[in-house]
């Protein structure tokens, strides 16, 4: 593919970091007649992004909400249906919204079931329900390519001390999307690990991580300029999407390319 075609692009966690970079980069790769649905909790930042996209001629709707609330997946799907037009040829869902969880504590301190459930609700359940809702709203039909992306992590594959929530959530998501890939061979499913990104999440990671050796690794990475710029990782992801050769369900890391 040279472009992503006339596309409906739904991006969660679009207000900053990787999600924002994805929105901007995808906007350059879609054809006229495309529409974006930007989801995040921060209305102001979303609306700024919406304006920027409009200036490049791309229509975007903002859905300002907390994805872990019961009615949220449905609200996103409803907006997506509103902006969809039958001459669109591509639906792309980017499950990017995520949180680090409290990395200042070790796993044995998580005695509160409610805290863990709250984390999983946002980082695992909401991605499942939103994806399910989008697939129901845009069922398989000829002429419509459907693509679901899970923003994954090395943490989906490797355990890291003081990161029990994040690692468990990412491992859960990778598996969730692998199951989806097995179930729907006509769907394109990508578990994309973007690399250690230069984002606000990394600031928290390198300052709060309880495990001292991991904390040092993270801050050294920052100090040595080894963090990956969102735009760079985004470019790699777009390359994957345009070439469209990846095996559905595979976990692909920024550094693999």
């Amino acid at each position: 593919m040279e472009t992503l075609g006339r596309a409906l692009c739904i991006i969660t966690g679009a207000s900053k970091g990787f999600g924002r970079a994805v929105a901007k980069e995808m906007a350059r790769l879609v054809e006229p007649g495309s529409a974006f649905v930007l989801v995040a909790r921060s209305g102001d930042e979303l609306r700024t992004l919406q304006t920027e996209l409009a200036e490049s001629g791309v229509e975007a709707r903002c859905v300002v909400l907390d994805l872990s609330l019961n009615e949220s997946p449905e609200r996103v799907v409803r907006t997506a249906k509103e902006v969809f037009s039958p001459d669109m040829e591509h639906v792309i869902l980017v499950n990017n919204a995520a949180s680090l969880g409290d990395v200042s504590r070790f796993g044995k301190s998580f005695t509160s079931m409610a805290e863990v459930t709250s984390y999983l609700s946002f980082n695992v359940s909401s991605a499942l329900c939103l994806t399910a809702g989008v697939l129901q709203a845009f069922p398989e039909q000829s002429g419509l390519r459907r693509c679901v992306i899970n923003v994954s992590s090395l943490c989906a594959l490797k355990p890291f001390a003081s990161w029990v929530l994040y690692c468990s959530g990412k491992a859960a998501r990778d598996m969730m999307f692998k199951v989806l890939a097995e179930e729907e061979p006509d769907l394109r499913v990508l578990n994309y690990a973007p690399g250690p990104l230069d984002t606000e999440m990394h600031i928290v990671a390198r300052t709060e991580t309880r495990d001292s050796s991991l904390r040092k690794v993270l801050s050294d990475m920052f100090a040595e300029g080894k963090l990956v710029k969102c735009e760079a990782s985004c470019a790699t992801m777009m390359k994957l999407l345009l070439e469209d050769k990846y095996k559905s369900g595979d976990h692909i890391d920024f550094y693999d390319i």
Partner: protein, 257 residues
């Protein structure tokens, strides 16, 4: 008894042994088997929701103890999908923390199948959260609680078992809830293993056994496969625990042995 049981002489020591989901299936088989490897002064804490089934199990176990030294067997009737259930179980365990114990063995066996249903059907956040709360959150909360009640230290043997599944590593169509939860658990326990060098962590996939859960699977999916008696799988797990040669954090399957 199965022929794979360990040579005599090897025991679990004076052990605080906690088994969740003890009332039937694999948990029940483990309770029966473990008894033979507990030295006098050990405590066996059985956790499940059904008071009558637990009571019956306790009576059966006491019967088979007739010729052996006094062993303490407690039952905690607890719904581990609730805060109270976890707290009651931890409190019950904590009551034993002043005993002279040289081994803490926590077997996280309680689990549920969940809906076996296409991915697309999971649009309701509450349903997914409820499943993950019991199958993932409660396991972390309980393990954390018991780790706090019996702080790991040199000289105290600590073993925690995660009853895993081949579905923790293999994606299967229509099994998104179960696969996702098992994958999350495996990773959760890998993190705990990294964080706690004084704790041996084992994710044991018991293989398809002759349990009510398998009956449900057969009913819901029509899939029939050769089922192994619970006690055979329990015996393999026991051997792993007695040999104690497994690499902490690893995933071992019934069919690997």
């Amino acid at each position: 008894m199965s022929g794979v049981l360990h040579a005599s002489g090897s025991t679990l020591g004076r052990c605080m042994c906690i088994i969740t989901g003890a009332s039937k299936g694999f948990g029940r088989a483990l309770a029966h088997l473990v008894l033979h490897y507990l030295k006098p002064g050990s405590v066996l804490l059985l956790v499940a929701r059904s008071r009558p089934l637990l009571q019956q199990l306790k009576e059966d176990l006491l019967q088979s103890l007739k010729d052996m030294e006094e062993m303490t067997i407690f039952c905690t009737v607890a719904d581990l999908s609730t805060k109270e259930g976890i707290e009651d179980t931890v409190a019950m365990a904590r009551q034993q923390s002043l005993k002279e114990i040289d081994h803490v063995l926590l077997i996280n066996n309680a689990a549920s199948l969940g809906d076996i249903s296409p991915f697309e059907n999971f649009i309701e956040l509450e349903r997914v959260n409820s499943y993950l709360a019991f199958n993932v959150s409660s396991v972390l909360a309980l393990t954390a609680g018991v780790l706090q009640a019996f702080p790991p230290r040199a000289g105290l043997q600590w073993s925690v078992v995660n009853c895993s599944s081949m579905f923790a590593v293999q994606a299967w169509p229509s099994w998104v809830l179960y696969c996702t939860a098992k994958a999350a658990r495996d990773m959760m326990f890998r993190v705990l293993a990294v964080e706690n060098p004084n704790v041996k962590v084992l994710s044991y996939a018991p293989g398809p056994m002759d349990t009510e859960m398998q009956e449900d699977i057969r009913r819901l999916t029509g899939i029939q496969c050769h089922l192994h008696p619970c006690r055979d799988s329990a015996a393999k797990l026991m051997r792993l625990l007695l040999d104690n040669a497994f690499v902490t954090g690893c995933h071992v399957d019934f069919f690997d042995l």
